[in-house]
Amino acid sequence: MNEAHQSSGAPERDLQPPERCEDERVMHLERGQLVTETSRPVPRAALGARAVAALWALRVFVVLVSLMVIYTFVDQLR
């Protein structure tokens, strides 16, 4: 999970640190709240291979258990 923190590289510089946003206000909004700002996508985080593998394992497990629940539900109806 912590590998999510190792996001970045160059694109990360585009992110506004929250403290800096506090300084710039448009009317009663922080600059980062404006629609023009929130429409800009945040940079992609770089996940490590182990983090990606763990996420996929969890995803597959959850789908399998969901299928079991749905099968049981449908079978009980018959």
Partner: protein, 446 residues
Amino acid sequence: MTLTPSELPLTAEDSTRSRDRSRVDRARGHSRRWLLLWLLAGPGILAMLGENDGPSMIAYAADGAQYGLGFFVPLIPVLFAMAFICQEMCMRVGAVTHRGYGGLVLQRYGQAWGWFGAADLALTNLVTLVAEFVSIRVGLAYFQLGSGVAVALGLALVAVTLSGGRYWRWERIVIGLALFNSLFLVAAILVKPHAGAVVRSLAFVPFPGGSFNTLLLLLASTVGATVTPWMIFFQQGASADKGMTGRDVKHGRYDTAAGAVLAAVFGIGALIAGAALLTHNGSGIGGFTGAGFPAALRHVAGSAAGTVFALGLIEAGAVAILTICASTAYAAGECAGVSHSFNSSPRNAAVFYAANIGIAVLAAVVILIPGAPLLSIALNANVLATVLLPVSLVFMVMLANDKALMGPWANKRSTNAIGITVITFVGLCGAAYGIDSFLQQTHLIS
């Protein structure tokens, strides 16, 4: 520094949000603490009371009817403490990043994870919405009203609350409705529980007996009654839509904590009301599938208790329809990358408004299908939500840990430890029920 509107392009959505924020700034400037709390309350209370929905209250009442007060009375506050941990993270991420959960996962971790999350949400929301309409129908059936009225009432509520083009208005209407969740507390008082038994039940008793699979179903549905995928999408999206910022995180915590306490108290109310059926030959579960919990309660505790419980089910279903539809709309707008705010007009946020009302219409159509297994859907909706929840929670913890996004508001180690414990517990509950039921159904175990 303060920039003038002419220096940046301001949309109508910005102007509306700025107007709401001006009141927050004034309250903060004049140190009016209670007014500030009133202005900033909303997403937390709505997420928690929205989750005290029809299937959840039925699950609590079923717990009480089948097992009595012991075990589940102390379990409900523990589960809402878990919900607070998850929802506080959602509020914090929404307030600091000003973005919803779906859009942030999609942009930060890739399209696949974003769309997986949205698909999970769409499935669980549709099933849960069907269950909410069922809950309204069960409540209305007590007053001899049918499915058509339930559908009309649910859809009319969605349409009315969507008119106005302002988040603040939507939020206040739904909070007003959500406070009627206290009807379950009134129902608990009306069944005249033995005070000593309620107090004694607060001491954690051993696991209750009975069929292991039934117990797992009740446990999974009780967990699913406190934390679900839609709450994550909803509270983060609503916190951003409300215009909360990092400065509001403390009040966001008060809001979330107040919601958790109210939801736990009202949930225990439903449990106590359901427990009144325990000593009457288990007429609780049978009563629900037959004439319904309200009618069973009327038989056991008088018509006032039955009427209040029926009204409570109508309220619980109605509020959940509004919050769940909103979570669907936030997710649809965020994933499609288009405007997704109650502060936008339907013309400017067509996807948001269409998803909001579209999923309600879809669920309404399902409950009008003759012979559809509505009660089974209602009882299984929470279980499916519990099974699919761990993935959403993992991404939530990842976002709350992301220092590039969260800066000084990122998770502390202690929050992570509790968060991971919650994910593990939820995952185990859902998986244990899913696997055990499947093995029994396929006769691989007896």
